[in-house]
């Protein structure tokens, strides 16, 4: 095997030199993580500091690499569904949807109308709770310990109750199936969801009052961690980060998967690409999600929730390959599956949005203080289950 004979170190730290070669002082190498309260899990960044300024930053991954893809190739298509819950463990519903959508593309299954509506409702609820929690975490990274998180988690619990009622689990819903969803929702559930959605804008107003024009938030986020538009496209950045950089690219509008073409909603696009824009985009996206939810809950038709042709046990799609993607709250979540006609996928690959969004972490952090690097990382919105898989 031709593995590199001597593994290269992340980088070498050399003393800082003046123009005449005189040593000015030492650079400091700090290993932040994998056990660090503000790295959102077991993420590690090796940072070189000049005083407090970041002069080099290399992310180190793999502390939660639990072999999702290898396991996926050794179990059946259906058995993989619960594993997708554990990718981005905040958004199990959108993960389920992305995987189900991919396999439906592979096998040519048609999803009934009602199931499409339920899926859209679940995905938008997921987006609401993900963005809410993210803002809680990210304000915590700026030093507001505890309190914003308390409010964010209070709202999240309300949405998790809805998930639990319909799927039986709070976080790991395992709710969608190829060709539909596992169980139908009842009218009582729809009424409850309508109430949660109706109350959500009030909560957003309240959250916004404290944060959107907060002096500390403005000082810490405006013109910090700026991501230029060209770099964002070239580095395959997706999701709210891309739109904050000023690119109008939302898969719900581009691919129009599911029934998103029927809803009237807008895609918020940022201007500066700094942290504040990323925060604002998420707040505005939540407002748009509420609009989608209101329309979906109003229009949901009656009917079956599973494609009668869909076969769950002994499912063997034809040989071929497919790439399916959805707009998950963190960006483009894609699944690439090669089938060889057997009950297990031959190749099963996840395109994790938060992993790829970290590509430009160094570019955004250079020249900023180490305390800003924490906030920049917070604004990327990573979940390590998805980054390392």
């Amino acid at each position: 095997m031709n593995a590199l004979a001597t593994p290269p170190k992340n980088f070498e730290v050399k003393p800082k030199l003046a123009a005449n070669g005189e040593e000015l002082g030492e650079l400091l190498e700090v290993s932040m993580g994998p056990h660090h309260p503000s790295t959102h899990g077991v993420f590690r960044m090796d940072v070189v500091l000049d005083g407090e300024k970041v002069v080099k930053l290399k992310p180190v991954f793999g502390y939660l690499h639990r072999n999702h893809e290898k396991i996926g190739e050794n179990i059946s298509y259906l058995a993989n569904m619960p594993y997708t819950d554990r990718l981005d463990y905040f958004c199990s519903m959108t993960n389920n949807w992305a995987y189900a959508l991919t396999i439906e593309k592979l096998a040519g299954l048609v999803v009934p109308e009602r199931a499409e509506y339920i899926r859209a409702i679940m995905a938008e609820l997921t987006r609401l709770q993900n963005h809410t929690c993210l803002i809680g975490f990210f304000v915590q990274d700026m030093g507001a310990l505890g309190t914003p998180m308390m409010y964010a988690f209070r709202e999240r619990e309300k949405i998790l109750d809805l998930f639990e009622e319909v799927s039986g689990a709070r976080m790991m819903c395992n709710y969608m199936r190829f060709g539909g969803v596992r169980v139908d929702v009842n009218d009582e559930w729809i009424a409850k969801t309508k109430k949660v959605v109706a109350d959500y804008s009030k909560f957003l107003d309240e959250f916004g009052t404290f944060l959107t024009e907060n002096e500390i938030v403005l000082a810490r986020t405006q013109f910090v961690g700026v991501l230029p538009k060209d770099l964002a496209i070239n580095a395959s950045i997706t999701g709210p980060m891309l739109r904050a950089a000023g690119v109008n690219y939302d898969l719900r509008k581009v691919d129009k998967y599911g029934i998103y073409s029927r809803f009237n909603f807008q895609v918020p696009v940022g201007e500066h690409g700094d942290i504040y824009d990323r925060y604002m985009i998420r707040v505005l996206e939540m407002r748009e999600s509420i609009k989608i939810l209101e329309q979906a809950l109003r229009d949901i038709p009656v009917g079956p929730v599973m494609d009668p042709k869909a076969k769950l046990r002994g499912f063997r799609p034809k040989a071929g390959e497919v790439y399916g993607r959805v707009e998950a709250p963190k960006g483009e979540l894609g699944f690439y599956v090669i089938s060889d006609g057997s009950p297990n996928p031959y190749r099963y690959r996840v395109r994790p949005p938060s992993f790829i969004n970290l590509t430009i972490l160094e570019d955004m952090c250079l020249g900023h203080n180490i305390s800003d690097a924490v906030v920049i990382l917070g604004s990327v919105d990573i979940v390590l289950g998805e980054v390392d898989r």
Binding site: V42, L64, R66, K70, F153, M171
Partner: protein, 203 residues
């Protein structure tokens, strides 16, 4: 030991008598400081347990400390991968005695759904002594609260003297464990035989 009958008789008279052991354990049990140590999915439920609805503070265990030097309890919340395992052991070694470990979730107990993975440690008990294990994937916040109450009962029952006294009062017992090294295929050693005692099932 004080006679139970006498103790209750004195209490009726407004005199509260206790032993140093009870007092000491009572204080320790009701002020467990857990380590902010999230590994994977279970960490979110751990956070939820300390947040608004479930409110772990009611049981005296809400002071999550980011530094192992200030913590008494390590909640191993999530999958321990082989890449992470040496760091978990090192963080445990950095915690001062008395210290306790809760293995939260199926992954921390045995590898759980990811057991077949090449990079997944099949249970944190291969390297660390686990006091309480919570099944579930992920366990609900209530389950974590129950585990903390179980741990409190365990602490309350500890004898401070005698041969059964806890590890931190016995100078002969090591409180640190060797940190495994990264090998070419697996961790070296793959398990710590001094700690790991799997149940023997007769087949």
């Amino acid at each position: 030991m004080i006679d139970e009958g006498l103790k209750s008789e004195l209490q009726k008279q407004g005199v509260y008598v206790t032993t140093l052991e009870d007092l000491y354990n009572w204080g320790r049990a009701n002020s467990v400081w857990p380590l902010t140590f999230g590994l994977a999915c279970c960490a979110i439920e751990m956070m939820a347990a300390s947040m608004a609805r479930f409110d772990l503070a009611r049981f005296g265990a809400e002071v999550f400390r980011p530094s192992p030097r200030q913590a008494d309890l390590m909640i191993v919340a999530g999958t321990v991968t082989k890449k992470m395992a040496p760091l978990v052991v090192r963080i445990y070694n950095q915690m001062p005695e008395p210290k306790y470990v809760i293995a939260m979730g199926a992954c921390a107990i045995s590898g759980g759904p990811f057991k077949q993975g090449y990079n997944v440690l099949k249970g944190v008990d291969r390297y660390l002594p686990v006091d309480v294990a919570i099944p579930g994937c992920p366990p609900r916040p209530e389950a974590l609260i129950h585990a903390i109450m179980t741990l409190q009962e365990k602490i309350l029952a500890q004898k401070l003297t005698g041969p059964d006294r806890p590890r931190h009062l016995n100078a002969d017992v090591a409180s640190e464990f060797p940190v495994p090294a990264y090998g070419p295929h697996d961790l070296e050693p793959p398990k710590n035989d001094a700690v790991w005692h799997p149940t023997v099932i007769k087949r």
